[in-house]
């Protein structure tokens, strides 16, 4: 595990507020290999964005308490000085954000903002940075990049703005790209284009990618590995195939049953997860998901409400981890969950 490109160990991001400490991320660990894509899924407030912003060091200089280890190629980012971290941001690790309209400064041209990202890490002339920006705009598929480089963000369409953000994120050839809900604010057709572009570029730039989303469709298409987060913790982690064919955690089942399967039977109803995401200020005792979990009665002695399950391999695959007290999650899934969400796939595996 130690040779992993990115290793997160027991990452905690706590925000002190007047009402108490908000534990936005509470003991998160995962690994990511070079050139691979990790999809992090979860509801709003599950800590998926917060944990990734912590990798970027975006909470430095705020009152957030970040602890644990973020080891990128052997060095712990949390031990770097502010200026070392600043040199790393945008160069070795870069991030693209959800809403490209608000993520770009409205008063500066797109080209200026992209060139700025290049110039801050490379000692080059303004002109060289500008031509590099044009090159990148061309690379992300902006037509007539030498003209559009002088446009302002509001003159771009939503999809073009996100392309420009991607150009900005990749201009310094980062080793790790974090995409925080990169397609959420876009039309469905544009979403597909942006995802294709990201995949293309990942191949060319050989970067590791963390894609944060609440859209399981995006994860299914993009991710090699999937991390499911709930209430600031990882509740399930495994390869794309395992998560989508043999999910073990009732929350993951809930996510899967609440999305439509376009290839499946249209008569299958969507089953939303009952209840609301828990308060991070005062999370439920035991398993944070237990108040919403339809399977909690299968665990004896009400342990779900008292004891936090460990993140462990439950089945035959040692890298497929889940956090649940159920003793035979695979059987429950096959017999109770699958018939409800995809009756046509029952018995396939």
């Amino acid at each position: 595990m130690s040779e992993a490109f990115l290793s997160i160990r027991d990452l905690k991001v706590h925000f002190p507020t007047t009402d108490g400490i908000v534990k936005a991320t509470d003991g998160l660990s995962y690994d990511l290999e070079k050139g691979k894509t990790l999809g992090i899924v979860g509801e709003s407030g599950s800590g998926k964005s917060v944990s990734s912003s912590a990798i970027m060091g975006l909470y430095r200089g705020t009152n957030a308490q970040v602890s644990g280890q973020i080891i990128l190629e052997g060095s712990d980012l949390l031990t770097l000085t502010d200026s070392e971290m600043r040199d790393m941001r945008g160069k070795d690790v870069s991030m693209i954000f959800q809403d490209p309209l608000s993520a770009m400064h409205p008063y500066y041209t797109v080209g200026n903002q992209i060139a700025e990202a290049y110039k801050v890490h490379n000692d080059v002339s303004k002109k060289a940075a500008r031509s590099r920006a044009i090159e990148m705009l061309d690379r992300v598929g902006i037509p007539q990049p030498d003209r559009r480089v002088d446009d302002y963000p509001h003159q771009f369409s939503g999809g073009m703005r996100q392309r420009a953000m991607i150009a900005m994120g990749l201009i310094n050839d980062p080793k790790l790209l974090i995409a925080d809900e990169p397609t959420t604010a876009l039309d469905v057709t544009v979403q597909a284009q942006i995802l294709d572009l990201l995949q293309d570029l990942q191949r060319d730039f050989e970067a590791a990618v963390i894609i944060i989303t609440h859209d399981l469709g995006v994860v299914a298409e993009m991710a090699d590995d999937v991390l499911v987060m709930y209430a600031g913790r990882a509740v399930e982690y495994g390869s794309n195939k395992e998560i989508f064919t043999q999910p073990q955690m009732p929350y993951t089942w809930g996510l899967l049953s609440s999305i439509p399967d376009v290839t499946g039977d249209t008569d299958v109803p969507l089953i939303p997860i009952p209840g609301n995401p828990p308060s991070l200020l005062n999370p439920p005792k035991g398993c944070a998901f237990h108040p919403r979990c339809p399977h909690r009665d299968k665990v004896p002695d009400g342990r779900c409400a008292t004891e936090l399950p460990e993140l462990l391999a439950q089945g035959s695959v040692p890298t497929h981890l889940s956090r649940c007290h159920l003793t035979d999650p695979d059987r429950v899934y096959e017999q109770e969950v699958l018939p409800m969400i995809a009756p046509d796939r029952v018995g396939e595996s």
């Binding site: 975006l58 790393m88 945008g90 954000f97 400064h105 409205p106 302002y152």
Partner: protein, 338 residues
């Protein structure tokens, strides 16, 4: 943008004319007797009536406004009474277009009065502007960067205290201590650039400009602080941070740029107002700028001077508004003028 400016200037001119009309109307709507004032304390009823006819105050106010407009366009001769002018050619004063009138109280054309006083007020205003904008923006940024700290509270609090003191107090305080008791600067007396050179001119403006600047500082510190803080929480600042930009670039290039629009608005209006004279400060320092002229013209019912001031100050405010609106489009590319 050019067509826009021309159209705005046209509207501004109409607005100015309406302003003079309102001034004439209001002047005659209140019970005052400009003829008595012009004639002096020892005049009897008959002399006052003669003065009234001589100065044209016997005509209806709208006719007087008409005469004023004639003067503005063609120039005119004073005193207003034609017969008096014909009989006494030696007392006739010609006032060329654009003539803003003749002040009988001062025995000078309004144009002369204003052009004598304007450089003083403008000098004070310019230097004060430099003081309070530099101070206000820098302190505001400093307060925003150290939000919640002792420095932040100190800066906001101190400027608020300075604002709370009336400017005649601050002016008197600065003259008494900084100049007389401590002797840090010479006793303030206005020197034009011709008289004292640039350095003499600047040092003669130091205390009055400081007095004015202290009055405006608090507002600028607060507005800079709050707009910088607001824009620091914007998504594009997070993007800037994620690019690896330094705190300084983030604040001065990205956050301050967004605070420019409200700042430019405030600067434009405050400065335009000040060009028309700072009544209290000029009187405290006895600098004969437009503020002193304004106070005198009011206490002596000097209608022509008042109207002249209205035109001058009104045109500054109108111009400042046009310039501010044009600057909006320069600052924010999303703003289209039309």
């Amino acid at each position: 943008m050019f067509a826009y400016a021309v159209r705005r200037l046209g509207i501004g001119a109409v607005l100015l004319l309406s302003l003079t009309l309102v001034t004439y109307f209001l002047f005659f709507a209140v019970p005052s007797d400009p003829a008595k004032q012009a004639c002096g304390k020892n005049c009897n009823e008959e002399q006052i009536e003669q003065t009234r006819v001589a100065l044209g105050y016997d005509k209806p106010w709208i006719a007087q406004w008409g005469d004023f407009m004639t003067g503005l366009v063609k120039g005119r001769d004073f005193p207003a009474d034609e017969e008096l002018r014909a009989n006494n050619p030696n007392i006739v004063t010609h006032c060329a277009a654009p003539c803003m009138g003749f002040s009988f109280v001062n025995q000078q054309t309004v144009n002369e009065i204003l052009s004598g006083a304007f450089p003083i007020s403008a000098s004070i205003a310019v230097v004060a502007l430099v003081f309070w904008v530099t101070g206000g923006v820098l302190f505001g940024i400093l307060a925003a960067m150290t939000k919640g700290s002792f420095l932040d509270r100190g800066l906001v609090g101190l400027t608020l205290i300075a604002y709370a003191f009336p400017s005649f107090f601050i002016g008197k305080f600065l003259i008494t201590y900084v100049s007389i008791k401590w002797g840090w600067v010479e006793y303030p007396a206005y020197l034009s650039i011709e008289e004292g050179g640039v350095s003499g001119w600047l040092s003669s403006l130091f205390l009055p400009a400081l007095t004015l600047a202290l009055l405006f500082l608090a507002g600028y510190v607060r507005i800079t602080r709050s707009y910088v803080l607001e824009s620091l929480s914007e998504d594009y600042i997070r993007t800037a941070k994620a690019k690896g930009l330094s705190q300084r670039t983030m604040i001065f290039k990205h956050a301050l740029r967004a605070a420019l629009t409200p700042l430019v608005t405030m600067i434009g209006l405050d400065f335009a107002g000040l060009l028309g004279g700072a009544i209290i400060t000029e009187n405290v320092f006895a600098y004969n700028g437009l503020g002193v002229v304004a106070l005198q013209s009011f206490t002596s019912d000097d209608l022509p001077t008042m109207v002249g001031l209205v035109i001058l100050i009104g045109s500054f405010v109108i111009l400042a508004n046009i310039i501010v609106d044009i600057l909006y489009a320069v600052i924010d590319p999303r703003v289209r003028l039309g």
